[in-house]
């Protein structure tokens, strides 16, 4: 039979498929109702025709033989891997009944709503949760809530809004925009941007800027492609980034090379900050961080004296001891150098057109769901009463508090979980064994995803098949531009979009009627804030930038009265200025000024332990072909990164008798995990670097193996309960102690 002509559908990526935080514009090629390939859209300003490896493998992800295509119900014990196909009606009916029963008996708060990484799921999951009446929105096991929220919270406290490095992404003409100028220096702070689009920042924008003259300063314990090309590489001890930020502030302030006019006019608390940083001399910071004092000086001077310059940072900042404090200190660096909302600096980033997809602040939650509801829900939100910053910033549960509550049932029992695209045990959670034990006891667990994985196998009672981004309608306003995702084909099998699933259940479970009949109505309603709708955006090629003068478009909005709700010039903070001395931190019972905190486990903090476990373990090394725990089953991608590999320094390996490619155990007080050794001089002699999220989809999924998650998931060596005073940050994902030894007598 002759094939029909290929049809090209334009869309926006940021959901299951490529998986990451995204924003890439894509062309989806469709033939006979099937996606044949996915390519980049040359006319989309975000990626300008490019896609990462994960985006280019979407068709293989969509039609993978292991993908779950129909609703399933568990028929054996949890973990036995016995499933039976059911209809959507049966699935919905069962879920409706069970969740209503739990609500009647224990209250809506006893069901937790669990998501994984930050993509379009944040919209539908909060929508369903609030309809049901639960306040408990959580990234289960994400110790110290160490993923972006600590940085967002620090920026909210300090400057009222968020900032990101300006690579022209806020302007539709991108690098050709006359008002943009490339940063003279970019500080790459604890991130390998080549791996993807973390926090909605397309990593290769850094390369684009380098080609236009930007120079690099890189803070990274490893040698990488970026450190190779950096004018300064601060190769620090993992976990000490806070000291480096304070040391750089010390240099910039004491040498008087900060932006005096900006500080005078727009900053609050400079004298207090000046006094605080005195103790962090470069010499003292050298002792803490291993970075030579002169290099700290050099980095600080280059950054401060070359305006505009920008800082691009990564998740390790959140995971530092006192993550929100480290983020605050880094924020101060761009603040006192006046690199705020200026072209080529750290530009204020707001959701495009003021549209909310995924609520990034308490204000957005309140706008969508009303102050009364948010206030009422806060009373029972897990962790909100323990941590004022958790209570007053966004609407998340504090995950370290949650695990205690799961175990003790205090102050109230948790009975059910709605888990949507979150591989808790196989990737997200620290101490997955503890979460496994605690969650196994829940009465009812719904799991929504695309593939079986360690979490679904161990925990799910009902499995609902979710759609990839090519099979659904969605919308995105995470920074810029405002975009829509267009449904190119119907759900593979009976897969449905997260929005469809959650709207249907919200209608069934809501205590007050839901005003939307269809997802399209909901999307169009939310797009009203941007004066547009789905069809209009689709007709424009799926994206649009806000008009000139809009408060979500740069630059220098603090001068124009575009940042504050009262339209006065300045910043949306209590003092109206950038608060170097944070009144909000003070109000939340926290130190208003940044300070350094040592990791709990380190050669300095626990020298005795370091005798037995002499190497520093830093986890979460990103692979450019996987996103977190996803994609291990995709042949085109797995072929490029087939094994879990830890990186260990060549000289260190020699003393341990480890050769390149040997299977080794990484071991600490919490257990041991198997990886292949990549023996390389790029690793610091005292540091071992491991990727996260490894499980083997090709092995037995049933218990006890659970796709080999207990053997290869590095999080088995991490723990809960190390959270900082704010509740944000302070985990051992990025800095703990370990030893490494060869597995004798065999490859495996």
């Amino acid at each position: 039979m002759a094939k029909s002509k290929e049809n090209i559908v334009l869309s926006t990526l940021w959901s299951a498929g490529c998986g990451s935080h995204g924003g890439c514009g894509c062309e989806i090629y469709v033939q006979d109702g099937k996606v044949t390939r996915v390519e980049g859209d040359k006319n989309h300003p975000f990626n300008q025709g490019r896609l990462c490896a994960k985006g280019l493998a979407i068709s293989q992800y969509m039609y993978h033989p292991d993908r779950v295509l129909y609703p399933l119900k568990r028929v054996g014990e949890r973990g036995e891997g016995k499933w039976q196909r059911i209809t959507w009606d049966e699935a919905y009916d069962t879920i409706e009944k069970k969740l209503k029963d739990i609500r009647t008996k224990y209250g809506a708060e006893s069901v937790i709503f669990c998501q994984g990484t930050g993509r379009d799921i944040g919209g539908p999951i909060t929508f369903l949760m609030y309809a049901y009446g639960s306040p408990n929105w959580v990234q289960v096991g994400l110790a110290g809530h160490a993923c972006y929220t600590p940085r967002l919270g620090a920026m909210f406290a300090t400057q009222g809004q968020y900032s990101v490095a300006d690579c022209s992404q806020f302007l539709e003409k991108r690098y050709d925009s006359p008002e943009w100028t490339p940063p003279k220096y970019i500080i790459m702070w604890a991130q390998n941007p080549a791996a993807g689009c973390h926090d909605g920042f397309y990593g290769h924008w850094i390369i684009d800027c380098m080609k236009r003259g930007s120079k690099l300063i890189t803070i990274d314990p490893r040698a990488t492609w970026f450190t190779t090309r950096s004018e300064v590489h601060l190769q620090n001890r993992p976990g000490t980034d806070g000291a480096i930020a304070l040391g750089m502030l010390n240099v910039i302030i004491n040498e008087g090379i900060y932006d005096k006019a900006f500080v005078e006019k727009w900053c609050y608390g400079f004298d207090e900050l000046k006094e605080r940083v005195q103790e962090y001399t470069p010499e003292k910071v050298e002792k803490i961080s291993w970075v030579p004092a002169d290099l700290i000086r050099k980095a600080a001077r280059l950054y401060a004296k070359n305006k505009p310059s920008a800082i691009q940072w990564g998740e390790p900042v959140d995971a530092m001891p006192a993550g929100s404090v480290v983020a605050q200190a880094i924020n101060h660096l761009w603040a006192i150098t006046g690199n705020i909302d200026n072209p080529g600096g750290n530009v204020i980033a707001r959701n495009s057109h003021g549209v909310t997809t995924y609520p990034f602040s308490s204000a957005e939650l309140t706008k969508l769901y009303g102050a009364d509801l948010v206030k009422k829900l806060n009373e029972k939100r897990i962790g909100a009463n323990d941590y004022p910053m958790i209570k007053n910033f966004r609407g998340w549960v504090q995950p370290d508090v949650l695990i205690n509550q799961l175990e003790t049932g205090k102050p109230y029992p948790v009975k059910g979980a709605w888990i949507q695209t979150s591989n808790i045990l196989g990737g997200q959670a620290a101490d997955p064994r503890r979460h496994y034990n605690a969650m196994k006891k829940l009465d009812f667990i719904v799991y929504v995803d695309l593939f079986q994985n360690p979490t679904s196998m161990a925990l799910a009672d009902i499995f609902l098949p979710a759609a990839t981004i090519c099979e659904k309608e969605s919308f995105r306003s995470w920074w810029q531009p405002l975009g829509v995702s267009v449904k190119a084909v119907n759900g593979v099998g009976e897969a449905k979009s997260d929005w469809d699933i959650n709207l249907e259940l919200a209608k069934r479970l809501a205590t007050t009627p839901i005003k939307y009949n269809t997802v399209r109505e909901l999307i169009d309603d939310r797009l009203k804030d941007g004066n547009t709708n789905f069809e209009k955006l689709k007709a424009k090629g799926c994206w649009e930038y806000p008009p000139e003068g809009h408060n979500t478009r740069p630059y220098y909005r603090y001068e124009k009265g575009l940042l504050r709700t009262d339209s006065k010039p300045g910043f949306e903070t209590p003092s109206g200025k950038v608060e170097l001395f944070s009144k909000r931190y003070e109000e939340w019972g926290l130190d208003p000024l940044p300070y350094y905190e040592e990791p709990k486990e380190s050669p300095t903090a626990s020298p005795d332990l370091a005798k037995k476990y002499p190497l520093i373990l830093t986890t979460g090394r990103r692979s450019p072909v996987f996103f977190h725990s996803e994609h291990r089953m995709i042949p085109w991608l797995r072929e490029l990164d087939p094994f879990p590999m830890c990186e260990i320094n060549d000289k260190t390996a020699a003393t341990l008798g480890i050769d390149n490619g040997d299977w080794v155990y990484i071991e600490n007080t919490r257990g041991k995990v198997k990886m292949k050794a990549k023996v390389t001089p790029t690793s610091h002699p005292q540091v071992v670097t491991a990727p996260h999220g490894w499980w083997l989809p090709e092995t037995d999924g049933k218990e006890p193996n659970l796709f080999s998650t207990w053997e290869y998931n590095i999080n088995n060596l991490t723990s809960m309960g190390n959270q900082a005073k704010s509740g944000f940050g302070g985990t051992d994902y990025r800095s703990s102690l370990c030893r490494v030894h060869k597995i004798e007598g065999g490859k495996e």
Binding site: V38, L51, A53, S59, I207, W225, T228, W636, L637, E639
Partner: protein
């Protein structure tokens, strides 16, 4: 007929592997087959460790005959995240190369 090839400014290659998957998708290659590969190259000087990546074509590169016939860029060229691959005639590429240090030309066909 003019011979075509790829000019790769390898100094910009970040090792992101997009070109490899682009090629696999374009040709629906099975495991082990791909038209372009990227290796990590680590070199050590007394005071610094350098990390570079080296893309090179293989025997399976057909310069995306199907695509280029209709005026499209090869899949790897279009998707290279560092925009460091150029498609053209060898003569044109050699001229470009004079201005672009740390690059190589591949003439797979």
């Amino acid at each position: 007929m003019a011979h075509n090839g790829l000019l790769i400014q390898y100094d910009w290659c970040t090792g992101c592997h997009a070109c490899e998957v682009a090629c696999k998708q374009e040709h629906n290659f099975s495991e082990g087959m791909v038209g372009i590969k990227v290796d990590e190259v680590v070199s050590t000087a007394p005071d610094k460790v350098y990390v570079d990546y080296m893309p090179y074509t293989t025997r399976f590169c057909d310069l995306c005959t199907e695509r280029t016939k209709s005026g499209e860029q090869p899949a790897c060229v279009k998707h290279c995240q560092a925009t460091c691959i150029t498609y053209g005639t060898i003569t044109e590429l050699a001229k470009l190369m004079e201005k672009q240090p740390r690059s190589s030309i591949f003439a797979p066909k």
